[in-house]
């Protein structure tokens, strides 16, 4: 399966701590996106990192991409209870317009 693998599957931290989520693929990935999903809702785009970028920041988010290792990480700094959600990576493999999503990391931030 081309589906991405995310690690950890679930993460529970205290407010103010940093949260790191990792995503890896078995095949080469190009551009990669991260999405957030609040319980029972649709996904919302967080950040895009292009295949020629190694690191990108947006507010409290930091994303890295290592195309040689076929992996990406998402760091949320100074987490808040409102960050509680599931987070998904989505990679573009080339070819058609499909994104291949990971299985997601469920983050719980305790107040």
């Amino acid at each position: 399966s081309q589906q991405g693998e995310e690690d950890p599957q679930a993460l529970s931290i205290q407010e103010g701590e940093n949260a790191t989520m990792n995503c890896s693929y078995k095949t080469s990935i190009n551009n990669l996106q991260w999405y957030r999903q609040n319980s029972g809702r649709g996904l919302v785009h967080l950040i895009l990192i292009r295949s020629n970028e190694r690191e990108k920041h947006s507010g409290r988010l930091r994303v890295t991409l290592d195309t040689s290792k076929k992996s990406s990480s998402l760091l949320i700094t100074a987490s808040r209870a409102a960050d509680t959600a599931s987070y998904f990576c989505a990679g573009f493999m080339g070819g058609s317009e499909k994104l291949v999503f990971g299985k997601g990391t469920k983050l719980t931030v305790n107040p």
Binding site: S1, Q2, Q3, G4, E6, Q9, N30, N31, L32, Q33, Y35, G40, R41, G42, L43, V44, H45, L48, R50, F88, A90, G91, F92, G94, S96, E97, K98, L99, V100, F101, G102, K103, G104
Partner: protein, 114 residues
């Protein structure tokens, strides 16, 4: 405000029924997608469409068909619903761009087949 809407948030159908899930976007996007989401399996692509009347199979197309007669509307059809099609169905749309454009998602339809 950009928007992707889905016809129902919750739907309960009986085994063997024909089920239509509708998705409408108002952003003039060329690409539209149907995913199903199951616990522990993440999002899996069922079908996508890159233009009116054009479609391409995703990873799990069996038991499903799609229709795109107008640019803004993409329908997912379960020809004969089965209990293993109980799931959350998510529609999304985007501009074409080889992964450089975000997908906009609808709120999802939670389908239960009894």
């Amino acid at each position: 405000d950009v928007k992707v809407t889905q016809s129902s948030r919750y739907l309960v159908k009986r085994t063997g029924e024909k089920v239509f899930l509708e998705c409408v976007q108002d952003m003039d996007h060329e690409n539209m997608f149907w995913y199903r989401q199951d616990p522990g399996l993440g999002l899996r692509l069922i079908y996508f469409s890159y233009d009116v009347k054009m479609k391409e199979k995703g990873d799990i197309p069996e038991g499903y068909s799609v229709s795109r007669e107008k640019k803004e509307r993409f329908s997912l059809i379960l020809e004969s619903a089965s209990t293993n099609q109980t799931s959350m169905y998510l529609c999304a749309s985007s501009h074409p761009g080889r992964g450089l454009y975000e997908q906009y998602f609808g709120p999802g339809t939670r389908l239960t087949v009894t």
